[in-house]
Amino acid sequence: MTARDTDWEGVRLHVVTGKGGTGKTTVAAALALALAADGGTVLLMEVEGRQGIAQLFDRPPLPYEERKVAVAPGAPGVPGGDVYALAADPESALIEYLEMFYNLRHAGRALTRLGVVDFATTIAPGLRDVLLTGKAAEGARRKAGSRFKYQAVVLDAPPTGRIGQFLNVAGEISGLARVGPIRGHADTVQSVIASPQTAIHFVTLLEEMPVQETLDGLAELRGLPQGGLQPGAEPGGAGPGGVQPGGSQPGGIQPAGVQPWLFHPGGIMINMVPPVDLPADQLTALAAGRADQDELALGLKAAGLDEPAGAEAGLAASLADELAEHARGALAQREQRERLARAGQPCYELPLIPEGMDLAGLYRLAAALREQGAA
């Protein structure tokens, strides 16, 4: 379709997860814009009933209907494509599913009135998840004529703590339904989600807890025990989205008969990266509070920050304190960045947008994702 090489060529379903508070919905929306920049149509889907997409694009709550929410910024000579959005809920997905597969729309409504979906959510969330992931998989495979309706689907998925369970629909269902139509549906959905056409991206901040959750989530996707990633282990040789031969599994141990790489880990999107202004070689000294206050005071004076006698020193001391705090933060962030780099997946950095997130901010993030090859 385009001459540009991106890291996720061939991926049709982008699942975006992350710890709460990391900006998962924002990054999912930016990714959808970035993917649509070559002129294709992209579907952005949310499943948690939070209406985060509507808020982000400053629109009234989205119904269970695919609606155009934005036009992607085009490249020179190429008009940008459209981003459609859908807020999927299990009730509507069930009714649609019953209609699509059984021609049972009315029965579906009756079941909803009876509380079947509430029931399913309560006693078997796997049923709920299969309806939602099923909708995403359907969007990714839907044809309009001979072409795919959507060039890609971006799913704003549940948080990292629940992602393994959310994606492992067949596994969650298999204990409940050994045979039967639900099981069949779950297996079909699973075959899409576990294929190389689906990549699971992680959104994180450069803070310890989100980074830890990202590493735990990656380990879970790779079928390793939590925390089983070896520091410094080589990443899988097959590259992004590739099928991994069992032998080069990080840690090297793969129980016989267990399929490695059940899911295909995608990129690590490091969100809200603060601009780093401090020289790397001075970070440690500055963090220890060894900024040269005399130099600062002279600088302030030279800059025309004239204050009553003696006040320059006060200002210089205050700024030195700020420098030290900033340097400590930057050092802590560097440590987290190094941990992520060892995880063996491509990392992308998205700048902090200090003015708060709006459409212009989303476009900036989308541009950043494209510059770095994520889309």
Partner: protein, 420 residues
């Protein structure tokens, strides 16, 4: 505390949340920390618990999903479903005691089943695949089990203060709704429909459900498959015997939350999403007549040099480092400027080399301007909250440069909570 670094100017100032008064009051028996994910709920709960213990209370902190290092920060190698003693850093004369525990949702659920059903029935329920799915999933169960555990700890009467950290719910409503949702679910027509065939036969149960029953079971069989429908029915029938006890406990817990000894703290960060969620909590708590103590605002940016405005600071930086430095800096907002893992600082040292006099001062001034801008944004969103909820007391915790990983870090947070 007054001074130039305060987040709000006078006039729109909300009442101050006095956390020490709250934890020192012996009538406060339960503190529930709620808020959206990633705002520092668990850390706040742990810091409050530690401070209360240091001030003489006998405290247990119930947490749902702490980072491993938070467990380590309390000197525990692991947190399981049992309260574990946390050694206090300095056992002063006034010191009380601190325990911490992490909720094991499945084990808590298993214990309820075992307590409410005879051994045979319990075994039958525990082995059912639907029970296993229900009890180990996150959707709703975790919220309910957290409240159940809270009730258990309260009834144990071993602690005079319980600090609980609520699960990172998809929706603010989940943990408040869990007890009622369970009740509604257990009373639902669907349950009656599913249990009816095993209780009665023939026409008797047709009266129980509405018309169209044949159609419904037909659809269920078609969609779920006969085997799955049978498993559901067995499970529901098995649970049926313990429904009464379940519901009673759910309602007890709900009343416990409304009782005078309970205080809710809504936790947020000064960001639009977190404060929108906080608003939602505040409204919901008042609607349910739950006692709200106030809002804890974490990660508030402050500056010891707030008298120097962003605009003046930036202008001064530009006076020191004209054109080149300015152009390079504008690139910092993009990832190319950030330079990934190894390239940091290239811009700043470049500035120093080429254009700048006093490069350190110029950098300090730019950082200060950024900080002041962030503070202005935070102030705006916080004022928005206060305008909507003027009566809600607020305490602010300054942003910490590093994550908390030991008791000293928790002590710092606790002191900041008290200082407001």
């Amino acid at each position: 505390m007054t001074g130039p670094h305060e987040l709000r100017p006078a006039g729109v100032r909300p009442p101050r949340l006095e956390t020490d008064r709250l934890i020192d009051d012996p009538r406060t028996r339960i503190i529930v920390c709620c808020g959206s994910g990633g705002v520092g709920k668990t850390t706040t709960a742990a810091a409050l618990g530690l401070r209360a213990a240091e001030r003489g209370r006998h405290v247990v902190v119930l947490t749902v999903d702490p980072a491993r290092r938070l467990a380590q920060s309390m000197g525990l190698s692991s947190l399981d479903n049992t309260p574990r003693p946390v050694p206090l850093p300095d056992g002063g004369a006034r010191a009380g005691s601190l325990h911490a525990m992490m909720l094991d949702m499945k084990r808590t659920f298993d214990e309820i089943v075992e307590a409410h059903a005879d051994p045979d029935r319990a075994a039958q329920i525990l082995a059912n695949p639907f029970y296993q799915s229900l009890s180990s999933s996150f959707a709703g169960t975790q919220e309910y089990m957290a409240m159940e555990k809270l009730g258990q700890l309260r009834r144990a009467e071993e602690w005079d203060l319980i600090v609980v950290d609520t699960p990172p719910s998809r929706s603010a409503l989940d943990f408040l709704d869990a007890p009622q949702r369970l009740s509604r679910f257990l009373d639902g027509r669907l349950i009656r429909l599913l249990t009816a065939p095993t209780k009665a036969s023939g026409r008797a149960y047709l009266k129980v459900v509405n018309a169209g029953f044949g159609m419904i079971t037909g659809v269920l069989t078609k969609v779920l498959g006969a085997q799955m429908l049978r498993d559901v029915q067995t499970f529901v029938a098995a649970l049926d015997t313990m429904f009464g006890g379940f519901r009673e406990r759910a309602e007890d817990t709900y009343r416990l939350l409304q009782a005078p000894g309970t205080a809710f703290l809504v936790i947020a960060t000064p960001e639009p999403d977190a404060l929108r969620e906080a608003s939602y909590f505040v409204e919901r708590l008042s609607q349910d007549r739950m006692p709200l103590a106030g809002l804890v605002l974490n990660r508030v940016q402050r500056s010891p040099a707030a008298r120097l405005s962003a605009a003046r600071s930036l202008a001064a930086a530009e006076a020191l480092q004209p054109a080149a430095g300015n152009g390079t800096h504008a690139g910092n907002g993009t990832p190319a400027g950030n330079g990934g893992a190894t390239g940091n600082g290239g811009t700043a040292s470049g500035n120093g080399g080429s254009a700048g006099r006093y490069p350190l001062a110029a950098t300090a001034l730019r950082l200060h301007a950024e900080r002041m801008q962030l503070m202005a944004v935070q102030r705006r969103v916080s004022q928005h909250f206060t305008a909507a909820h003027p009566g809600v007391p607020v305490t602010e915790v300054p942003a910490q440069p590093e994550d908390v990983h030991d008791l000293a870090g928790l002590t710092t947070i606790g002191a900041a909570l008290a200082a407001g």
